[in-house]
Amino acid sequence: MSEAAATDHATTTGMSHNKLAMWVFLGSECLLFGALISTYLVYRGRFATGPAPGDIFDIPFTSVSSFVLLMSSLTMVLALSAIKRGDLRNNRIWLLTTALLGSLFIGGQVYEFTTFFREGLGYTTSPFSSAFFTLTGFHGVHVSIGILMLMSMFISSLRGSLRKEHSETVEIIGLYWHFVDIVWIFIFSVIYLVPSPTS
């Protein structure tokens, strides 16, 4: 993340290299999740002898954890707004809050996976189960990487090395974080809100 600071030259588009690179990367990520969501859509009805999606999904529970994740986008914006004002204390508070909300979402996912496993839905049970765990698992890994980046920024801030002039770093990681949230809206709608087949 340090190249932009190093080469302070004006860019052709006016956007820094790092930020433009993040946008291009997020474009690429759309296709990654697009392919995973397509795989899930092909396989959502193929549960073989295992549990069917409509039998095990707990929509109220996942709605609550989705709400938690979406709220973390709000706190992310507050963190960016704080560091842009030079308010490092509030920046730290909101970074930590964002990371905690993300962790709460991951905790919900772990709980959900464990429950499904107890109900007989293992990773190797059926094409449906493999596709479900792979899609939501990939999203969970993305959130976890986001949490690691948030915590790294939080610790940097405690050490005094994340200051007002680094607000673009917060903004770029924020872009990633918002993307992961927006993708979840699609995943949540496709997996949980579209009526699922039952056995």
Binding site: M1, S2, E3, A5, A6, T7, D8, T11, T12, T13, M15, H17, N18, L20, A21, V24, F25, G27, S28, E29, L31, L32, G34, A35, L36, T39, V42, Y43, R46, A48, T49, Y123, T124, T125, S126, P127, S129, S130, A131, T134, S152
Partner: protein
């Protein structure tokens, strides 16, 4: 070679846990380099090495098929060799050789001193190399991949392919895919963000345009193959049921995912070559490229339409008549922008004072041979004909005319054309011409007969054939042709060595050996470490040519300046350049441990993962290089003469 690093001493100890490497002499400089030119050379050397490896695999295939009931390889080994031939040539030779040109030339063509994210550029190369090594380690670690480069399910499953070969395929290609993705993001940002003043999008050379389209294709195609390879790897390693028909898994899913990546991949391979010959043909025809906007827009059109034709690889997979009809039509349509390009190259040559130097010969080779491949491609678009041709040698003939005739010839045109730019001396033009004619004859002898064999019904991917089907003669011709191709590669190697030896002790060749047109020739040959003495201000397409030529009062083109007057002399000092870094290669070194760990013993993933995590954190907290530290404070001239290494 040392100019990047000697001044590191000036930088002093910056803040933070890690310091930037101080570099040094020789190999240390190469493994920590972030210089786009050195990375380009590294890509080129690695790609040509893998090209030879893939070529040896091709010769083994041709030896096996030279006579009926061949016994050179045997069925199992044949499967491995033809799989690795395809994987090596596509992912480890053609793509990285294009990346070599892109890395070296893009900053020079747009008037920049490096790519946007230099350390990520180094990362791309090292991860690609690690992926290539992992793929080829399979030969000694239990067997190479044997499911074809297309890896159709369920043949690639643990049941039909019990050796670890397909695990190496899934994980090795995942690594080269990461490398391509990182590199494509980097080059996209570079082209969009680092153009010199006045270098508008429509003043960019056609090569730069084609590379931009290629990178955008990579940005969106790589994640799709990544998902396909994850599904395959999870199926084989963790027992996921994606491709298990007994519980409802669908083999067609793999085919769709693979070809949604795979067909854009065809254009990812061909567009850089199109870009190269779009630079070569105008230069040697002494004319501007005919219909520049059409060249650019047809390239963009290919980039878009390339996403809508993938199912023509699947006409006999049972996808239904409506899909077949739709994809037949879109496949015929995509021949239109390609035809536009071919007509424009011919119109560029038309009426030009053509000089048939070696690069031009290879470029004309592309135009003619690719046209044959394109036409046989249109015959596949007609689905009833394709039903007859699928899985026969007719298909093999088609895609080799496209890939060898279209891409390899184009890359060789580029090698001969830009060799003086990179190494400061020209390759022998006479040997180059011999190289071209031997390659052209060998290529047509090898792949021309495959049209006949295919229409006679010889099946591809089968390790032997029985006598009495009329296959004997043309197979023998094809095998003889393949050894002629090998001879032409040997001639190229001889040319490289001989030219380097002749150039030793000589001053570098002049600044403009070909009377070229685009911005990269504004720098001296070989390119100095800082590229441009001062960033040029661009006023037109073919900027370099317009600085050399003007018009007299009668409107006739006259030379107004010599190349020596126009070119920069590379004498600038005090140019700030990005510092080298250890962490790209450390990151890349961790990935093979993770891959081998997933295949053999999960404990191995621990050191691999630690290396990767350490590299990431060290990378992020590495001190930014000091903006006040300038490179090249030592005598630049003395260094650039040493800069031409013998490859």
């Amino acid at each position: 070679m040392t100019a990047t690093t000697t001044v590191e001493d000036v930088v002093g100890q910056p803040l933070g846990v890690y310091t930037r490497p101080r570099g040094g002499n020789g190999w240390r400089d190469w493994i920590t380099t972030v210089d786009h030119k050195k990375i380009g050379i590294l890509y080129g050397v690695a790609a040509l090495f893998f090209f030879v490896v893939g070529g040896i695999e091709a010769l083994l295939i041709r030896l096996q098929l030279a006579t009926p009931n061949g016994t050179v390889l045997g069925a199992d080994m044949y499967n491995q060799v033809f799989t690795m031939h395809g994987v090596t040539m596509i992912f480890l030779a053609a793509m990285p050789l294009s990346a070599a040109f892109a890395n070296y030339l893009i900053p020079l063509q747009i008037g920049a001193r490096d790519v946007a994210l230099p350390r990520l550029n180094a990362l791309s190369f090292w991860v690609f190399l690690a992926g290539g090594i992992v793929l080829n380690l399979s030969w000694v670690l239990g067997g190479a991949p044997d499911g074809g480069w297309f890896g159709y399910a369920p043949n690639t499953g643990i049941v039909f392919s019990p050796s670890p070969g397909m695990d190496f395929y899934a994980l090795g290609l995942q690594m080269t895919g990461i490398a391509s993705l990182v590199s494509s993001i980097n080059l996209t940002v570079t082209i969009l963000n680092m153009r010199a003043p006045g270098m508008t999008l429509f003043r960019m050379p056609v090569f730069t345009w084609m590379i931009l389209v290629t990178q955008l294709l990579l940005v969106f195609a790589m994640p799709v193959i990544a998902v396909a390879l994850f599904l395959l790897a999870f199926s084989r390693l963790f027992g996921a049921r994606f491709f298990d028909p007994s519980v409802g898994g669908d083999a067609l899913l793999w085919q769709h995912l693979f070809w949604i990546f795979g067909h854009p991949e065809v254009y990812i391979l061909i567009l850089p070559s199109f870009g190269i010959i779009s630079e070569v043909i105008p230069t040697f025809s002494r004319k501007p490229i005919f219909g520049y906007p059409f060249m650019v827009f047809s390239g963009i059109a290919i980039g878009f339409m390339g996403w809508g034709v993938w199912a023509h690889h699947m006409f006999v997979s049972g996808i239904g008549p409506i899909s077949v009809a739709a994809f037949s039509l879109s496949t015929m349509f995509i021949a239109v922008p390609t035809g536009v390009k071919i007509l424009n190259w011919m119109a560029t040559m038309w009426g030009g004072r053509i000089k048939f130097s070696a690069p031009m010969l290879f470029a004309v080779g592309v135009v003619s041979m690719f046209t044959i491949g394109g036409l046989s491609g249109v015959t596949h678009a007609i689905s009833p004909a394709d039903t007859q041709q699928t899985d026969t040698y007719y298909i093999v003939a088609h895609f080799h005319y496209v890939i060898f005739g279209g891409i390899i010839f184009g890359l060789f045109a580029g090698l001969y054309f830009w060799w003086p730019k990179v190494f400061g001396h020209q390759l022998s033009d006479l040997i180059g011409k011999v190289n071209f004619w031997v390659m052209l004859v060998g290529f047509n002898l090898t792949f021309g007969p495959m049209h006949v064999l295919g229409l006679q019904g010889m099946a591809r991917r089968i390790d032997s054939y029985s006598p009495g089907f009329g296959f004997e003669f043309w197979n023998m011709v094809s095998t003889i042709g393949s050894f002629l191709i090998a001879l032409s590669i040997a001639i190229f190697v001889v040319n490289v060595i001989r030219s380097a030896m002749k150039a030793k002790g000589q001053p570098p060749c002049g600044p403009d050996p070909w009377d070229a047109r685009s911005l990269e020739w504004l720098t001296p040959n070989p390119t100095p470490v800082h590229d441009f003495d001062e960033i040029p201000v661009v006023e037109s397409l073919d900027e370099f040519w317009h600085r050399k030529y003007g018009t007299d009062e009668n409107g006739r083109v006259v030379r107004v300046a010599s190349a020596e007057e126009v070119c920069q002399d590379g004498s600038a000092v005090g140019v700030h350049l990005p510092s080298p870094s250890f962490w790209p290669i450390v990151f890349a070194a961790g990935l093979p441990f993770i891959a081998l760990g997933l295949i053999f013993n999960l404990w191995l993933t621990v050191p691999g993962g630690l290396l990767v995590v350490m590299a990431i954190y060290a990378w992020v907290f590495e001190p930014v290089d000091d903006p006040d530290a300038a490179h090249g404070d030592v005598s630049e001239v003395a260094d650039t003469t040493e800069e031409a290494p013998v490859v």
